[in-house]
Amino acid sequence: MIVRADFDTIASWIHTGSRVLDLGCGNGTLLQYLQNKRSVNGYGVEIDDDNLLSSVRNGVNVIQMDLESGLSVFESESFDYVILSQTLQAVHRTELIVREMLRVGKEGIVTFPNFGYWQHRLDILRGRMPVSEDLPYQWYDTPNIHLCTLKDFEAFCARLDVKITERMVLTRGKPVYRRANFLGAMAVYRLQSV
């Protein structure tokens, strides 16, 4: 199993035996990881047929659904944690999805690539769209439509009255504590509604 850099951080914030919903769960590896490591009662939401099949193969509960139409099948506060792992930057209705995440979950966990990372800035200065380990796509084939920096995301949370309770910034799997918006490649946020 490939363990992404943000998995460990997410696992460290999650209580054993809790209920977890992973929005845009891909092939289910994060939920599988959390099931093994934290014995969570997990569910994924995924729209892609191949990912759905992989999730079932990985022994993960998965619901085929379009996130963009909201999460009406899930009752309010029916999950301890709702996760958007490397998904936020690829959705159209960002605000709706963050609101829905914090309606359904008592807490939210969001991870995304930091567009403000120095390598990305350097690419732009050189006149090219950034391509990196955390942004591995060319401009013409990227699913990412709403890229942001740490500062952008924090301003967005303030506007939505969303409280950031913890933040972990990572570069190649190592924590970054200083000048995070410049030196950090990936962000992991823990959120609550105010």
Binding site: L53, S55, V56, N61, S78
Partner: protein
Amino acid sequence: MNQITAPLYGQNSVGIVEPQSMHFAAPLLTRSGGSIAGYDLVYETYGSLNAEKSNAVLVCHALNASHHVAGYDADNSLGWWDNMIGPGKPLDTQRFFVIGVNNLGGCFGTTGPSSINPATGKPYGSDFPIMTVDDWVTAQTRLADRLGIHRFAAVMGGSLGAMQALQWAISVPERIANAIVVAAAPQLSAQNIAFNEVARRAITTDPDFHGGDYYQHNVIPKRGLRLARMIGHITYLSDDAMMEKFGRALRGDNIGYHFDVEFEVESYLRYQGDKFAEYFDANTYLLITRALDYFDPAQDYDGNLAKALAQARAKFLVVSFTSDWRFSPGRSREIVKAALDNHLDVSYAEIDAPHGHDAFLLDDPRYHGLVRSYFERVAEELKIL
């Protein structure tokens, strides 16, 4: 083992199968307040039951199908879900012991309205009690008891068959590990009931119906059965699938300006109706459409499906098809929601298939791939080799 390996039929087939029959002497009291003094259930099995008796899968049939689920019967006719079940198929009979059973009230050997009522020496006809899905589940549990199966690895079905799988999870939660619910609804809509009613009226207003006791008159209400089947058939297909299959193609070379068959689709529906009227019992059709109408497991729980599933322990795989307008994906999502509300394990797939309700019988690689993977998980979790 009741099958003969027939290389003639290919290595993915269960080969030639023979139905078996089991007699039950204890009366079955129905939800409708009726009772059947004693009855026979006809069934087929594929694969073999392991020593732990942990690998049994019950496959429940829908409106017009039977116990003949896979392989070839004596008439060389292929089982209705043969593309799903067999050696190496999504439900692999090399691992699982699969049972198909003709439900009570049926017309393929199981006791039904056309069987002789021992009390009168005549066919039951209109005396046969109204059956509901939970009555079928009761009869199926008795068959399981006799076969020594306490808990099914899975109960599976499409459409009305899927409703039985859902009812199993509610009625006998300790006896079902997985419910595979394909193209289902938690209850019929007004439109669904309306279509059933038109079909029933076609039968009951046929002059040959004789109030359901047509057997004594040596007639069959075939006109009604034909119409019922034609109406039903329309609801199994999507508009697009019909257009794709027939378009506005004519039967002849030119339009003839008459009321006989002009279009291919008319010819097809008539053919389906004629074929059906040759083998299906009209009273069974009435009974089964009524069982569909009455199916509503939430009704005993203030209309709340989540409450109905409160005792359920099964894991669920729910599958719907985007073009199914009879039981649309939204109806399957109601079942998914009720499972989620009870913290049950559930996976849900919405297969983008153009065929309509009948898609559950077709060989779609995404759908079959999913069922295959799900059964691999079932085998792993229940330690079935």
